[in-house]
């Protein structure tokens, strides 16, 4: 599988006549690109707004950020499998991408209505929260979209995300037939056997447990969000968006997954420091011990069958999902696969352990700090001049909105950061230290 990834850097975005890219400037024909969205009769309202790095702008609520990528040649489509998009295996041929930009999905639609999961993230383009998130450094082309109110929640999610993908497709189409200023070839070419074989195990949340449905929108493998046994993916498939769709933090967005620095760095070191063998996409939140342990054993077995001598494990969730993730680390170690685990930490209050379960085999841990922003010493964020999205949000955590009469605050005001940070892929230098 050989993929040529052509990059068109975007330094400036403006609305204008005709959608085109030239010398880093992306002009967006707002009406034209929104037409595809408005063509869907289930879309009630849709608008596009631009947020630039450094601006005093807050985007709320953010459901996903998608990097515009499009197939130039090779089978399939980028972000395959969603809502009728082709399920053909991707990762071959050529793909063009716009870098430095994302299509930001802004909508009041919640993931599902079974309770427990809430959209609770916002992006600040400047200030202390901006300093901690990668999306503050790209131009956010925000699609503020609402579906027809009478639809079932799953349909609403489909309408909203389909609209986001339509914008992403439309923007990326502007560079499909151009010559990219940068091109990188991604291929797992034969590498010296003396280099250690390494597998990347990417644990991604499935909404099935919390929603009790196989069709709830969330992170998908080829558009499938349900709990499935581990998938073996070629890293090129991930670069073409085969693992996409969001979960509940700014680090679990389509954008961060295609720009995952762990994946990219391992890939670029293939043939030099490692032999990258593949990616195991491990779906989480199984709800019995048996299922959790079975998936962990199978993931480790897959890694072993690939010839892994080493593995890196990451995850994008919290709570009891830790069990199957850390058991995967353990299962790999027990098979002799040397494993590094990158994770955030729970509350350090009272000197208690900050990881859910102590596992002696997990002896190589990289920590990205505490996922709860309360422990990150951020303080209250400064008010902003402009909000993209909605002017109100529930005070504190979004879960407070489950309480009838929860106080609403001005989302442009001086408010605390979102409850969760959680740098799933180690983008930042944020960490924690023992004292």
């Amino acid at each position: 599988m050989r993929l040529e990834l052509g990059t068109f850097p975007v330094s400036e975005v403006r609305f204008g006549q005709g959608t085109r890219w030239q010398d880093g400037v992306l002009t967006i024909d707002r009406e034209a690109v929104l037409r595809a969205v408005h063509d869907d009769p289930l879309v009630a309202t849709a608008s596009l707004e631009i947020a630039r790095p450094g601006e005093s702008v807050r985007i709320w609520p953010v459901r996903d950020v998608v990097e515009p990528r499009i197939k130039v040649n090779g089978p399939g489509v980028t972000y395959p499998g969603w809502f009728g998009r082709s399920i053909e295996t991707v990762g071959q041929g050529r793909t063009h991408r716009l870098s430095g930009i994302g299509v930001t999905e802004v909508s009041s639609v919640n993931w599902h209505d079974a309770g427990g999961d809430f959209v609770d993230e916002f992006i600040d383009m400047s200030g202390p929260w901006a300093d901690l998130i990668p999306q503050s450094e790209i131009v956010n082309v925000c699609l503020v979209v609402e579906p027809e109110p009478a639809l079932a929640i799953q349909t609403k999610n489909e309408v909203v995300h389909r609209a986001t993908l339509a914008i992403s497709d439309a923007l990326a189409a502007a560079v499909r037939d151009l010559t990219p200023p940068q091109i990188e070839v991604f291929e797992l070419s034969p590498a010296p056997a003396s280099l250690p074989g390494v597998v990347y195990i990417q644990c991604v949340h499935s909404p099935q447990a919390m929603s009790h449905s196989e069709h709830t929108f969330c992170t998908g493998t080829y558009g499938l969000t349900r709990l499935t046994p581990p998938w073996l993916l070629h890293p090129n498939e991930i670069l073409d968006g085969a693992l996409s769709g969001p979960y509940r933090t700014l680090f679990a967005t389509s954008w961060t997954v295609v720009n995952n620095p762990i994946l990219l760095d391992l890939y670029r070191r293939h043939g030099r420091d490692v032999r990258l063998l593949g990616v195991i996409a491990f779906r989480t939140e199984w709800t019995t011990q048996t299922e959790k342990d079975l998936m962990a054993e199978q993931a480790a077995k897959l890694a072993q069958m690939l010839g892994a001598q080493g593995a890196i494990v990451t995850w994008d969730a919290g709570g009891n999902e830790y069990i199957e993730v850390v058991h995967t680390v353990r299962a790999c170690e027990r098979l002799g696969i040397k494993t590094v685990f990158l994770t955030s930490e729970d509350s350090p209050e009272g000197g208690a352990p900050s990881l859910l379960k102590p596992v002696p085999e997990a002896d190589a841990i990289v920590t990205t700090g505490f996922f709860n922003t309360r422990y990150l010493e951020i303080g209250t964020l400064p008010a902003v001049e402009r909000i993209i999205g909605y002017g109100e949000k529930a005070a504190g955590r979004a879960v407070d909105a489950t309480v009838v009469g929860a106080p609403l605050v001005d989302s442009a005001g001086a408010i605390p950061p979102p409850w969760r940070h959680d740098d799933h892929y180690g983008f930042t230098r944020l960490s924690s230290f023992a004292f």
Binding site: A209, T287, T288, Q289, K292, D293, I323, L356, K357, P358
Partner: protein, 75 residues
Amino acid sequence: MISAIYDLALTTGANRVVRGCRIEHVCGNPDLGPDKDHEYGLRIIRTALRALGTKVSGPTLFDPSEETVEAAHAS
């Protein structure tokens, strides 16, 4: 302690742990239909009572599948 994800309880200080069914329905299983669900739930509770009466030296798992069906009256 009754838990579907019992391993965590066993490794963080609980000494008498009973295997529950699933997080969403710990003491029973709605998929079995009301009669069998009830039988299963009762079995889990009986296992818990057995655990309470068992001497243990450390974290111990009690599995309801090992519980025999008994008459409801105490012997």
